[in-house]
Amino acid sequence: MAVTLDDVWHIAALARLGLTDERARSLVAELNTILEHMDVLSKIDTTEIDGLAGGGASGLPLRPDIGPPIPLARERETFAPSMRDGFFLVPRLSTHEDPEAAS
């Protein structure tokens, strides 16, 4: 299951990472070298294992889907890159019309 250059562009797009052509080519080799070491896992018999392992002693504990309020020492405006009226501002999605042009 060798990683191809197309795979690298695909996963970079999924991960929202921009890459140069040179870096993408280098990552093909790097990821393949790492994944070669992982191939040994395919030879291990895990047919008797049901489900996935977690870190805890007895699975993940559950709690009610509510939490206590988290007091913040400073306003979001002090650390957000861009805010207005309590909302985070982001660049407009290309699929959205300019509301002023639409009105």
Partner: protein, 490 residues
């Protein structure tokens, strides 16, 4: 009091002794804090800095010291009153930045304190500085910090280990007796071994992770460094316990780890897993481990050869599971709510420009690796398979502990601290975690303590226990530390 006087008076005190001196008025919190700041300044000027601390605020340190003094006057003396503590840069603090060693969070100051930081403050500790680390905890040498590599204070051409290298080095060099780090695959124990200090990874769920910036959520734990076993025990005792803000923390009672010291190890069975002593293990490290096991035997422990047969698959499992979880956790760093933002072509362009500029090469590599093993067509072959093999690794530990073995003893690392720049192949670097990542995969507690030196470089011995059996682990560590004496640092 001059800086030299302060250091002379305080440098030899354990954390508990310093606390007692503060409690009875022999030492003021301000003097204790200044001794730590003096040492940090001295180290910065010494040997080109070592680059082990990222952020300090002397005014805030003095404000904290004054608060401790006021509390003491009112009869409120916490278990860490006046004790300076260093905190890894991925643990949230309101008074100092939390950048995770990354450009993407450079200058970010958290609006809340991590629960572990709050518990330290409640106990009277003084947070002195944030320490250098591999970016987002991804590394075993602290060379992957966006703010430059940290150096090992015992051999400055070598790495201090990682990813909590700055915290380990801070304790080794005497800036503080206690420091916080975090573990995903050995990031406390490995640097503890390389720097000749004690490092503890508690059971998964033992310590709150609220405010620990997530790397791999099924593996991450906050850990503690100490100059001695007692320092580490005091530190862990202070931060352990259920936290309603972290649903993975567990309501198991916290034992008195400091009270675990025993003179005899009679009745304790210590397993020596053969997979951690391969034929090609550095013979000098094997010799130090054998001497440590002999010391435990001389105290009455029974040493038993055991097997953890899936150990040789742990690095492969770890380097699928951890990047997979990281690829999800690090999706939040997108330039919208906090940290760096680089404008690009529309929203998607902003995401890509921000993340590409903000993340370093190793973080980028692991995000892509994690995205790949989770993507359609590869999930079953990599991620599901790795999780199934992880279950086998957990079962190995369960079987050994069920067989009557109380503790396991192994080397912490296959080699002593290596030279800066020596490991350029990512997978070669990943192998640095070969003896430590098993405990993270199984969720069991583990710790490293000094057991001697090879060519002047510290060697760590690792103790592992069953879930929530930290007290038994500390009992053996206290006994071994006492039995080895000065030999632990020779």
């Amino acid at each position: 009091m001059t800086p030299a006087d302060r250091r002379g008076a305080l440098g030899v005190l354990s954390a508990a002794e310093l606390r007692d001196s503060v409690a009875n008025g022999e030492v003021s919190p301000r003097t204790a804090a200044d001794a730590s700041l003096d040492r940090a300044s001295e180290v910065r000027a010494w040997r080109d800095g070592l680059n082990i601390l990222l952020y300090e605020d002397h005014d805030d340190v003095h404000r904290q010291a004054n608060e401790v003094a006021v509390r003491r006057e009112g009869g409120d003396v916490g278990p860490l009153a006046g004790v300076p503590v260093i905190v890894k840069d991925n643990i949230a603090t309101t008074a100092l930045p939390t950048s995770c060693g990354s450009r993407i969070l450079e200058g970010y100051v958290s609006p809340f304190d991590a629960t572990v930081v709050r518990r330290l403050r409640d106990a009277g500790a003084i947070i002195v500085a944030k320490s250098n680390m591999d970016e987002f905890g991804m590394g075993s040498s602290t060379e992957n910090s966006a703010f430059g590599p940290a150096k090992n204070p015992l051999a400055p051409t070598r790495v201090p280990g990682g990813s909590s290298g700055g915290s380990a080095a801070s304790v080794a060099v005497g800036i503080a007796r206690i420091a916080l780090g975090s573990e995903t695959g050995g990031s406390v124990r490995q640097p503890a071994a390389f720097c000749g200090v004690v490092g503890v990874k508690p059971t998964y769920g033992r310590v709150s992770r609220y405010g620990l910036v997530a790397f791999a959520s099924s593996l991450d734990q906050v850990g503690v460094f100490g100059r001695s076993v007692d320092d580490a025990a005091l530190g862990l005792q202070t931060i352990a316990g259920l936290d309603p803000l972290d649903s993975t923390s567990v309501a198991e009672p916290v034992a008195a780890y400091r009270g675990a010291a025993r003179g005899s190890m009679s009745g304790v069975v210590i397993g020596r897993p053969k997979e951690y002593f391969p034929a090609d293990l550095d013979p000098r490290i094997r010799e130090k481990c054998d001497a440590a096991l002999e010391a435990l035997r001389s105290l009455g422990a029974e040493i038993r050869d055991v097997s953890l047969p899936h150990t040789d698959l742990a690095v492969q499992v770890y380097y699928i599971v951890a990047p997979a979880e990281a690829s999800s956790n690090l999706a939040r760093f997108d330039g919208v709510r906090y940290g760096l933002r680089i404008e690009g072509d529309g929203l998607r362009g902003m995401y890509e420009a921000t993340r590409s500029s903000g993340f370093g090469p190793e973080v980028t590599r692991r995000i892509l690796l994690g995205t790949y093993v989770l993507s359609a067509g590869y999930y079953d072959a990599y991620y599901r398979k790795a999780q199934q093999v992880r279950a086998l690794i957990k079962r190995d530990f369960a079987n050994v502990f069920k067989s009557g073995v109380h503790l396991l003893f192994t080397p912490t690392t296959p080699t002593p601290a290596f030279e800066l720049g020596a490991k350029s192949d990512p997978y070669e670097m990943y192998l640095s975690d070969i003896f430590t990542c098993t405990a993270n995969l199984a969720g069991v507690p583990a710790m490293s303590l000094p057991i001697g030196r090879v060519d002047g470089l510290p060697v760590g011995g690792q103790l592992m226990a069953s879930h929530f059996e930290e007290r038994q682990m500390f009992a053996a560590a206290f006994a071994l530390e006492r039995q080895l004496g000065a030999g632990a640092h020779q």
